[in-house]
C-alpha cells in the first residue's frame, strides 16, 4: 500500500487502440493488487482490471491536447492506453505503478494475497492434484532397468534438479556424482521420458565441461549405462540443441560438447536453436509487428519475416521431431542438452513428448508435462518471466515458444488434441500473472527452501483451477481413437505450416478475430447431444422400472383375484401404461420449450450487446479476456474495498 501515491484519479480516458471512437471516460483506481478502470455510467462488464504482476512496463508519452497519455504494457500482450488530465496525477500513477509492477520480494506477488473462497483443506488439496510419481508410473517406471535414485533428495548434487530423479539401475552413486561434477551446474544426465513400448528414453542434462580435451570417466559410464538400459539398440543420440558455433565458443570457457571419440556408441548431433537473448529480441519484434496499426499486407509479412520468430519455432519443432522419431521409429535413446539444460532442453524434450505420447495431448497430460519438464526440472520461471525486479537479460519467452509449438501442432492436427487454444492461452496467462503459486521461483529447491511455508500456506495451485474449468478448454473435434492420432504425430515442417498465432498476440484486438466460433458452436451441439442421450437413457430406465412394476401388479392381481375380477384391473392397467408415455411426450416438449426461450433470449442479447448469453459454459471468445487477466470472477475480495 505504501507504494500507492494516488489511489484514485477521475476523468481518465481509456483509449481503444483500433478506434478512437470507443474511448471511455471513467475513474482509475490503484489498489495493492490491481489497476482498475471503471467506465462512467457503464455496467460491470466494462470495468477493466489489470493485475500488477501482469504489467510488463509502464510508459509515459508526450502530452497531447487532451491530457497525459500513460501506457500499460502487459505480459499477455495487452496494451492499455489511458489519458490522464493532470500531469501530476499521471506522474503519480506512473511512479506508483512502476513500483507496484516490479515487486522486489516473492511475498509481494499476487498469489500470496489471492484468496478465493475455499478453505485450507481445499487449498492443500489443489497442490496434490498433480502427482509426478503417478506420471512416472504411467510411463512404466520404475522398472528393472530404471529406478529413483535418492541421491538428490537434499538437492546436494544438483540444486536446480528435482529431488526424485530416475537413473539407470546399473549406475552407482560415485558415477552420478562424478558425472554431475563434469556437467554445468551439476545437471547430470537423467530421465525425462520413457517409452514403454520399446524401452527407448529421452534423457536430459546440461553441457559437459569438456573444454578442448577434458574427459570424465564417470560421465562416459553414465551415458553408456543409459544406452545399455535400452536393450534393443546399439547406440544412442546425443543432441546438442545449440548452434554449433555457440557450442564451440563454450569450449573456450571450459564447457562444450561431447567428443564422439570419447564416448562409446554415441551419435552426436547439433540442432541450431538460438539462445534466450536472440529469442527475446525476436519476440519483441514480433510484438511490434502485431501492434502495428492497420499495416499493409506487405508490411505485416515483411515484419513477420524480419522478426524471425516462426523460424525459431520451426527449429524447435524440428528438434522435437528428430528426437521423437529417434525414440519411436528407431527405438534409440536420446540425451538432450543445451548449455544449462533448462531452456532449450525443456522445450525440445516436451515438444518431443507431445509428439510421442497421446497422453500429453490431453488436458491433464499437458499439465503434467509442464509440471514435470518445466517446473520440477528447474526452468527459471522467475527469471524468464520477470516475476521480480531483476536482470532484464534473463527474461526470455522460452515457455511461450513451447506453448506455440503445441498450438502449431494443433493447427496441423485438429483432431489430435483434447484441449483447445484457450487452454494454452490460459496457461500462458497464469505463468505470467503470478495469480497462482505454481510458477514462482526458479527451482524446486528454491520453492521448498525459501518460501515453502508461504507457498503452500497461502498460495493456490493453478492446475486444479484449470481442471475445474475444463469444459471451456475442450476441443470438440478430439478423436482419441483414430489411428492417426495415436502414437507418434508426424507434423510437416514445411515453412507454410508455421502460422502467426493471432489469438495470442492480438488477443485484445477483438475486431481481428472471427466473429463466429466454429469450435464453440460444435461444443454446444456436442453437449446437447450428450444431454439428450442421457435424458433418453433416463427415460428408458424409468420405462423399465414401470414395466417391471406393471408386470408385478398384473402378477399380483392375477394371484389375488380370480379371472372374473381381473377385468377390474383394466383401467388401472391402462393408467399405468400411460405414465411412461406421458414422460416421453411431455418431457422433451418441456425441455424444448425451455430451450426455445433461452435461445430467443440469447438472440436478443446478441443483437444488443454482443455478449453471448448461453448459460452453458461454451460462452464464446469473450469469456476469455474478461477472465483471469482482467478480472477474476472469484477474486471479488481483492477489489477496491478490500484494498
Amino acid at each position: 500500500m505504501e507504494h500507492i501515491r494516488m489511489p484514485k484519479v477521475e476523468h481518465v480516458r481509456l483509449v481503444d487502440r483500433s478506434s478512437s471512437r470507443r474511448t471511455q471516460v471513467g475513474t482509475l483506481y490503484l489498489t495493492a493488487t490491481h489497476t482498475i478502470f471503471v467506465g462512467k455510467g457503464s455496467e460491470d462488464r466494462n470495468d477493466l482490471w489489470v493485475l500488477h504482476s501482469l504489467v510488463c512496463n509502464v510508459v509515459k508519452h508526450k502530452a497531447s491536447q487532451s491530457g497525459y497519455p500513460l501506457l500499460i504494457i502487459c505480459k499477455n500482450f495487452q496494451v492499455i492506453r489511458f489519458i490522464i488530465p493532470q500531469e501530476s496525477d499521471c506522474h503519480d500513477v506512473y511512479i506508483s505503478l512502476s513500483r507496484l509492477s516490479r515487486p522486489e520480494k516473492y511475498e509481494e506477488l499476487y498469489c500470496f494475497s489471492f484468496n478465493p473462497n475455499v478453505d485450507k483443506a481445499e487449498r492443500e488439496h489443489s497442490w496434490d492434484f498433480l502427482d509426478l510419481k503417478a506420471e512416472y508410473s504411467r510411463m512404466g517406471l520404475p522398472n528393472k532397468l530404471w529406478h529413483v535414485n535418492p541421491i538428490n533428495r537434499e538437492y546436494r548434487v544438483c540444486d536446480t534438479y528435482p529431488a526424485d530423479l530416475f537413473v539407470p539401475k546399473s549406475v552407482t552413486l560415485p558415477v552420478i556424482v562424478g558425472s554431475s561434477k563434469f556437467r554445468s551446474r551439476g545437471r547430470f544426465p537423467t530421465l525425462s521420458y520413457y517409452c514403454k513400448e520399446n524401452h527407448a528414453t529421452i534423457c536430459r542434462s546440461s553441457q559437459p565441461l569438456s573444454g578442448f580435451s577434458a574427459r570424465c570417466l564417470e560421465d562416459e559410464q553414465m551415458l553408456q549405462a543409459i544406452m545399455k538400459s535400452n536393450p534393443g539398440s546399439r547406440f544412442m543420440y546425443v543432441v546438442d540443441t545449440r548452434p554449433k558455433l555457440n557450442a564451440m565458443a563454450n569450449r573456450a570457457a571450459g564447457k562444450g560438447y561431447e567428443n564422439e571419440d570419447n564416448y562409446c556408441n554415441i551419435k552426436f548431433q547439433f540442432i541450431g536453436i538460438e539462445n534466450i537473448h536472440v529469442m527475446r529480441n525476436s519476440q519483441q519484434k514480433l510484438i511490434e509487428v502485431s501492434a502495428l496499426h492497420s499495416p499493409s499486407m506487405g508490411e505485416f509479412l515483411t515484419g513477420l519475416e524480419n522478426s524471425d520468430w516462426l523460424r525459431h519455432i520451426k527449429s524447435i519443432m524440428e528438434a522435437g521431431l528428430f528426437i521423437s522419431k529417434a525414440v519411436a521409429e528407431e527405438g534409440v535413446s536420446v540425451l538432450v542438452h543445451c548449455s544449462d539444460g533448462w531452456d532449450r532442453t525443456a522445450q525440445v524434450c516436451s515438444v518431443a513428448s507431445v509428439l510421442l505420447d497421446p497422453y500429453y495431448r490431453t488436458l491433464k497430460g499437458l499439465m503434467v508435462l509442464i509440471e514435470k519438464d518445466w517446473v520440477s526440472f528447474g526452468h527459471m520461471f522467475s527469471h524468464r518471466c520477470g516475476h521480480l525486479i531483476g536482470e532484464a537479460k534473463e527474461v526470455s519467452p522460452v515457455i511461450d515458444q513451447f506453448l506455440e509449438c503445441v498450438w502449431q501442432l494443433m493447427e496441423q492436427f485438429p483432431c489430435a488434441f483434447e484441449y483447445n487454444e484457450k487452454f494454452l492461452i490460459s496457461i500462458h496467462i497464469h505463468i505470467y500473472s503470478c495469480h497462482y503459486g505454481n510458477f514462482i521461483c526458479n527451482s524446486q529447491k528454491e520453492r521448498k527452501d525459501l518460501i515453502l511455508c508461504i507457498i503452500k500456506e497461502k498460495a493456490h495451485s493453478v492446475w486444479l483451477h484449470l481442471w475445474e474449468k475444463k469444459l471451456d478448454f475442450m476441443n470438440p473435434l478430439f478423436k482419441p481413437d483414430q489411428s492417426q492420432n495415436q502414437g507418434l504425430l508426424r507434423p510437416s515442417t514445411a515453412p507454410y505450416c508455421f502460422k502467426y498465432w493471432r489469438r495470442l498476440y492480438n488477443r485484445f484486438d477483438r475486431e481481428l478475430h472471427p466473429r463466429q466460433s466454429e469450435l464453440d458452436c460444435l461444443m454446444t451441439v456436442k453437449e446437447e447431444t450428450q444431454k439428450l442421450e442421457e435424458e433418453l437413457a433416463l427415460y428408458e430406465q424409468k420405462m423399465a422400472v414401470l414395466d417391471k412394476e406393471r408386470a408385478k401388479t398384473l402378477y399380483m392381481q392375477k394371484g389375488v383375484l380370480d379371472s372374473k375380477q381381473a377385468l377390474w384391473s383394466l383401467p388401472l392397467d391402462t393408467s399405468l401404461a400411460n405414465t411412461p408415455q406421458d414422460y416421453i411426450g411431455g418431457a422433451p416438449n418441456l425441455c424444448l420449450f425451455g430451450d426455445q426461450t433461452k435461445s430467443s433470449d440469447a438472440d436478443n442479447s446478441d443483437q444488443e450487446s454482443g455478449v453471448a448469453d448461453f448459460s452453458s459454459h461454451s460462452s464464446g471468445e469473450e469469456s476469455l479476456p474478461s477472465e483471469d487477466s482482467v478480472k477474476d470472477p472469484d477474486s471479488d475480495e481483492t477489489g477496491p474495498n478490500r484494498a
Partner: protein, 539 residues
C-alpha cells in the same frame, strides 16, 4: 428481418398501468410483433389490455411527473401512449433501460410495419428492365436485359453506352432491401483528354440517387491511374459534372500483375524446402494476399456506404469486367443473406460474372504452369473464391456452402464438362449455342439434391451484414486451395468429417429444427469494422 427482431425488451414485470375510469393496475407488459399486451395475470378481462401497435399514434417517454402523478421513485420511467382512437394511457416501467427499450421498440415497430410493404413497391417504381441490348448491339458484353432507373429511357441508355468503355453503361447490380440503396456497376467514362461530357450519362446517374442524396463512385484505380487513363480516351466522373457523386479511388492491380502473383504463389507453395524466412518473403513478394486484402477492403467500403451510411454506390475500374465484378459480388455476399445460400451464391455468380460478361475464356485459358505467353489471363474469379473463403473463415456459420464448393468452382472454371464458363459473354454463348448443346454446372450442382460435401453443416442464416476483418493478421493463405495436394489437406479433411459426424449425431437425437436452434445461439453480433469507417470519415 423479422418484425420480432426489432423488439429489444419483450417482457417487463411490475408495470403500473393508468388509464381513464380504471384504478391503477400492476402487472406484466409484453411487446409482440403487432400487439402491446398488459395483464395482471388474473382472469378478469378488465384487468387485461391489448393494443394493436398500429393503433398507437404517438408515444412519449418521460421521467417527469405527468398528469399530477407522483414522480417515479428510483430508476423508472413513464411512457405515455396516445392511440389513434384517442385513448391515452400511461405505463410506469421500473428500470430506465426497460422503459427506453419498450418505447423505442414500439416506435420502430410502428414504422417498420408501415413501411414493410411499401418499400418493395417503391423499388419497382424506381427501376425497370430494359431490353435495349436485346441484340447485343449497345453493349456486346452485357446480357440482353439489364435493370436501369425507370425514368431513363432506352435512347438515353444508348447515349450513355457510347460514353462508356465497351458500352458498359451503369446498370443495377444490387438493391439493398433495407434502405433501397443500390450498387451500380459500369466501365470507365470516356472523358478523354479534353474532358468530354455526356448529359445522358449524367442524367442516368442522377436518376439513380433520386434528387438530393449523395452517391459514391468507387473507382478501382488510383487517382493517378484514372488521370492517366484520360490520355488513352478513358477517364473518370469529374466533380463538376456529377455534383451529387463523391468519388473515392482505391488502387487494385489487374490483369497480368494478378496472374503473375498467382504464378509466384503456386511456385512458392509447391516448394517445401524453403526456410521460413524465404517462404514469408516469397509469399509477400507474390502479393496474392495483398490482392485479397484490397478486394475485401474495397468491398467492405462499398458495404459501408450502402448499409451504414445509406448511400448508393457506383463501382467501376477501366473495363468493368474484372475487379468491378469482384468488388460488387463480394459486397453483396457481405450485405445480403440471400447470396450466402448455395442457390443464392450460384445465382450471384450467374448474374455478376457469367451474365455480366466476365471474359472467362480469355481469363482462364491457362492456369499457372503453362509456358504459353500470357495474353489476357487473369485469375479474377479465383481471387473472388479466395475472398469468399476468407469470409467463411471469419464467419464459419454464415455461409450455407462449404469450402468444397469453392474448390469445385475453382476447378470447373479452368476445365469443365459443363458449358457454364464457356465463352466471354452472353452474346458469344448465344452464337455458339452453349445453352442448347451443353449442360449447366449450377443446375447440376443444385439438382436434385445437392451433395452433402458442398454444404456447411454449421450453417445458420443471419440477416445482418457480415463484415470481415481486413487486417493482415486476419487474412490467411487459402491452404485448402494452394496446399491442396499436401498432407496438410488430409488432416483438414479429417476435421471436416468430424464436424459432420457431430452435427449428424445431434440431428439424429434432436431433429433438425433443434439443431438449428442450437446453432442460432452462436450468431454473434456483427459489428461494422472500424478501420474503414475511419477512412470514410476522413474523406
Amino acid at each position: 428481418m423479422e418484425l420480432s427482431e426489432h423488439i429489444k425488451t419483450a417482457n417487463v414485470e411490475a408495470v403500473t398501468l393508468r388509464r381513464p375510469f380504471h384504478p391503477a393496475l400492476r402487472g406484466t407488459l409484453c411487446v409482440t410483433s403487432h400487439h402491446l399486451l398488459f395483464s395482471d395475470r388474473k382472469d378478469e378481462a378488465s384487468r387485461q389490455l391489448l393494443i394493436l401497435i398500429k393503433n398507437i399514434d404517438a408515444i412519449e417517454k418521460s421521467v417527469e411527473n405527468l398528469f399530477g402523478y407522483p414522480r417515479a421513485v428510483g430508476s423508472s420511467g413513464t411512457i405515455t401512449i396516445k392511440c389513434k382512437d384517442l385513448l391515452v394511457l400511461q405505463l410506469e416501467i421500473p428500470g430506465m433501460e426497460e422503459c427506453l427499450n419498450i418505447a423505442s421498440s414500439i416506435e420502430v415497430l410502428n414504422i417498420v410495419i408501415t413501411s414493410h410493404r411499401q418499400k418493395e413497391r417503391l423499388l419497382w417504381d424506381r427501376w425497370r428492365v430494359s431490353k435495349v441490348n436485346s441484340d447485343y448491339s449497345v453493349c456486346p458484353s452485357y446480357p440482353s436485359a439489364v435493370i436501369v432507373p425507370r425514368e431513363v429511357d432506352d435512347d438515353k441508355l444508348i447515349r450513355s453506352a457510347r460514353f462508356r468503355q465497351g458500352g458498359r453503361f451503369p446498370v443495377l447490380s444490387y438493391c439493398h432491401h433495407r434502405n433501397g440503396m443500390v450498387i451500380m456497376r459500369s466501365s470507365q467514362p470516356l472523358t478523354g483528354a479534353n474532358k468530354k461530357r455526356c448529359k445522358e450519362d449524367e442524367l442516368l446517374l442522377q436518376a439513380v440517387i433520386d434528387g438530393s442524396e449523395l452517391g459514391y463512385i468507387i473507382d478501382l484505380r488510383s487517382a493517378q491511374q484514372a488521370q492517366q487513363a484520360r490520355m488513352t480516351g478513358g477517364g473518370f466522373e469529374s466533380k463538376s459534372c456529377y455534383s451529387h457523386w463523391k468519388r473515392i479511388h482505391r488502387h487494385h492491380e489487374r490483369g497480368k500483375v494478378v496472374q503473375e502473383s498467382l504464378i509466384k504463389l503456386v511456385e512458392v507453395c509447391s516448394d517445401p524446402s524453403h526456410t521460413v524466412d524465404r517462404w514469408l518473403s516469397k509469399l509477400e513478394n507474390s502479393k496474392w494476399l495483398s490482392h485479397v486484402h484490397s478486394a475485401l477492403s474495397t468491398a467492405g467500403l462499398v458495404v459501408e456506404c450502402v448499409e451504414r451510411d445509406g448511400h448508393s454506390v457506383l463501382v467501376h475500374g477501366s473495363e468493368g469486367t474484372d475487379n468491378t465484378l469482384l468488388v460488387s459480388s463480394l459486397a453483396q455476399l457481405i450485405l445480403d443473406p440471400a447470396s450466402r445460400t448455395v442457390t443464392g451464391f450460384l445465382c450471384l455468380l450467374e448474374r455478376e460474372w457469367i451474365q455480366a460478361g466476365h471474359p472467362f475464356q480469355q481469363r482462364c485459358a491457362h492456369s499457372v504452369y503453362s509456358h504459353a505467353r500470357l495474353k489476357q489471363e487473369c485469375p479474377s474469379f479465383l481471387l473472388l473464391l479466395d475472398c469468399v473463403w476468407q469470409v467463411w473463415r471469419q464467419f464459419p456459420l454464415a455461409l450455407e456452402f462449404s469450402e468444397a464448393l469453392l474448390l469445385r468452382l475453382a476447378q470447373e472454371v479452368y476445365a469443365s464438362n459443363y458449358g457454364t464458363f464457356l465463352c466471354n459473354s452472353e452474346q458469344e454463348r448465344c452464337a455458339a449455342g452453349v445453352k442448347e448443346n451443353t449442360h449447366c454446372l449450377f443446375q447440376s450442382l443444385l439438382k436434385p439434391d445437392i451433395e452433402e460435401q458442398y454444404l456447411n453443416p454449421l450453417y445458420e442464416p443471419t440477416d445482418l451484414a457480415i463484415w470481415p476483418s481486413v487486417h493482415p493478421q486476419s487474412l490467411q493463405l487459402w491452404t485448402g486451395m494452394f496446399l491442396r495436394w499436401t498432407k496438410h489437406a488430409q488432416n483438414m479433411e479429417e476435421a471436416r468429417e468430424e464436424v459432420w459426424r457431430i452435427v449428424k449425431e445431434h440431428r439424429e437425437r434432436a431433429g433438425p429444427d433443434r439443431t438449428n436452434n442450437t446453432l442460432s445461439t452462436h450468431c454473434d453480433t456483427l459489428t461494422p469494422f472500424e478501420n474503414l469507417m475511419d477512412e470514410l470519415t476522413i474523406l
